[in-house]
């Protein structure tokens, strides 16, 4: 049932997809032209270096970070339905961005990521303030879902009363890698520092799965672990949402699939889920770009098409 060596398979799969993402798009570039294309002055230099390469790398990083964030949240909430979307972080970031776009349409788009980040962190703080430090996992998840719905209706309200700016916001809100390049890649780089922090939590996350009482008896401070894990997860999610918009279901589906693949031990699960997340977003973006070129669908739409039925299946299976 389980693969004994999942990492070589996953890494190979990811590399193949990276090459595929470089090759295919509105214009196909044959495999043997790819390497040549990175030399300045070659025919495909602009397409590859300025367009497809940063976008592909961004898909890898965002996919990996969203998946890792989801694994951390599922790790401490002990609920297979939990994910950063469920906690309301993604939608909080989305609402902040739409408010910004609606009321400051003239200001620089460069500020959008920062605003989304503040919104995501605020959403997390509100959740924390409502639930308190020692609240139960279920209470946290339910409150998060309620808040997410509230933020989503806030977005709808703004779009109805200020329909002029709707296009811009809509594009961003579906979660897309379109038009993202080196600039966005550089913005996300500092947040990679959260990855080693997440790995450092792996051992404790195993123990919290045995219940708070057992974890505490094994020397873990359950509340502190929850706080640190959720803070790291919020940082990862908010930084991704800031760059790509909320790419739905990735944080839910990736850790879940990975658990089926490699089991629940976090020392294996965390790195493996990053690879699975990267693979999922690479596939989503590849399909979104090649399904009907030159028209591009948002990658977030593709993840939602796969993710929503998966979520429903999970929901029915849990009952």
């Amino acid at each position: 049932m389980k693969q004994s060596r999942p990492f070589p398979t996953l890494i190979t799969g990811m590399l193949i997809l990276i090459i595929a993402n470089l090759m295919f798009g509105a214009v196909s570039i044959p495999l043997n032209e790819i390497l040549k294309g990175f030399q300045q002055g070659s025919d495909n230099y602009f397409t590859l270096h300025e367009y497809r390469l940063p976008r592909t790398l961004l898909a890898v990083l965002v996919g990996a970070m969203m998946a890792l964030s989801g694994a951390l949240v599922q790790g401490v909430i002990r609920n297979p339905l939990a994910s950063p979307d469920v906690l309301g972080v993604s939608h909080g970031a989305g609402l902040a961005a739409v408010i910004y776009m609606t009321y400051f349409p003239a200001s620089s788009i460069d500020w959008l990521p920062a605003v989304a980040l503040v919104g995501g962190l605020l959403a997390a703080l509100i959740l924390w303030w409502l639930c308190g430090q020692s609240s139960s996992a279920i209470k946290l998840a339910i409150t998060g879902v309620a808040l997410a719905a509230l933020y989503a209706s806030g977005v709808d309200f703004l779009m109805l009363v200020k329909p002029l700016e709707i296009n811009n916001a809509l594009l961003w809100l579906t979660g897309s890698l379109w038009g993202r390049g080196w600039h966005q890649l550089m913005m996300i780089l500092p947040w990679l520092l959260l990855i080693p922090v997440a790995f450092w939590l792996a051992k404790s996350l195993n123990l919290i799965h045995l219940g708070d009482d057992t974890a505490m008896s094994l020397g873990i401070n359950a509340n502190k672990l929850r706080l640190v894990s959720l803070a790291v997860a919020v940082g990862l999610t908010a930084s991704c949402v800031a760059v790509c918009g909320p790419i739905g279901f990735l944080g839910l589906v990736a850790p879940h699939l990975t658990r089926k693949l490699v089991g629940g031990r976090h020392q294996t699960l965390l790195p493996a889920t990053m690879l699975v997340g990267a693979i999922l977003l690479l596939v989503a973006d590849l399909v979104a770009r090649t399904i009907d070129p030159p028209i591009e669908l948002p990658a977030g739409l593709m993840t939602a098409i796969i993710g929503a039925p998966y979520f429903l299946w999970l929901l029915f299976r849990t009952k």
């Binding site: 002990r78 297979p80 450092w200 792996a202 051992k203 195993n206 123990l207 799965h209 045995l210 219940g211 708070d212 009482d213 057992t214 505490m216 008896s217 094994l218 020397g219 873990i220 401070n221 658990r259 089926k260 490699v262 089991g263 629940g264 031990r265 020392q267």
Partner: protein, 255 residues
């Protein structure tokens, strides 16, 4: 004596469940906490395991306030088997048992030869060696209980605290578990267990602690604790005390 409570009050949300209890755990014995539902026996156990913080007073380990001891260090002294356990997804039996070694491993949780030796031994003792590579979620209730017991044993602590370990088990598994506890006790472990079954406690435990309304009513050997009058006042039960024909321990028979 290693574990003791001093004017200890514990509860939930200002409801005092354990009320100013002074208790010294006799070392090297099997101790049973007994009493009707809601008497505070599980709460007292959790306070001694540092799961619940005291509202007043303190629990001490070798004269030191339990809450002042670094948690990893304390995890090498006291292990707790809670009453109910979640069923972790995608975890193999051998992995779950190895989690018991956490207080001894580094940040990545890597286990060394010594850890492996202990894991192998406790799996043999609890008879789960052949389950090693099965998923915990696919086991029966009785098997799962043994796996969790093995995990707490892997913690390799001088004290083992159990919260109603036999409540949801078939009778044969209950007997098996109590025999195991006796065996670990002979190896030098002090065992504190909350039990529902008075006769089980009398037969397998050395020291009984009888509680009611958050207070200790009486403690001592089964002979001194199981009396007609005490059973009447604590459990509102009309019972006779006879001698168990096999173990020669006191046995209560309800009238």
């Amino acid at each position: 004596m290693s574990l003791s409570t001093h004017n200890l009050s514990v509860g939930y949300h200002n409801n005092i469940v354990v009320d100013q209890v002074n208790l010294t755990i006799p070392e090297g014995k099997i101790i049973a906490l007994l009493g009707p539902n809601g008497c505070g026996k599980s709460t007292l156990l959790k306070a001694m395991a540092r799961i619940l913080p005291p509202m007043a007073g303190q629990v001490q380990w070798q004269g030191q306030n339990l809450h002042k001891i670094p948690s990893k260090q304390l995890a090498r002294k006291l292990a707790l088997l809670p009453q109910t356990q979640p069923i972790p997804e995608g975890i193999k039996v051998v992995d779950l048992v190895s989690y018991g070694r956490s207080p001894y491993t580094g940040f990545w949780g890597r286990i060394n030869a010594e850890d492996k030796r202990i894991i192998k031994r406790v799996m043999q003792e609890t008879k789960i060696t052949e389950l090693a590579n099965q998923l915990v979620s696919e086991l029966s209730g009785g098997q799962r209980q043994r796996v969790w017991l093995a995990m707490t044993l892997a913690q390799d602590t001088p004290y083992l605290l159990l919260d109603e370990p036999t409540t949801y088990m078939d009778l044969n598994h209950q007997v098996e578990l109590m025999h195991l506890l006796r065996q670990f006790n002979k190896q030098g472990k002090t065992i504190i267990t909350v039990l529902h079954d008075i006769n089980q406690a009398a037969r397998y435990c050395d020291h009984l602690i009888l509680m009611k309304h958050g207070e200790i009513i009486r403690q001592g050997s089964p002979e001194t604790v199981l009396t007609k009058a005490l059973l009447k006042s604590v459990f509102s039960l009309n019972a006779q005390i006879h001698q168990d024909p096999i173990a020669k321990t006191p046995m209560c028979v309800v009238e």
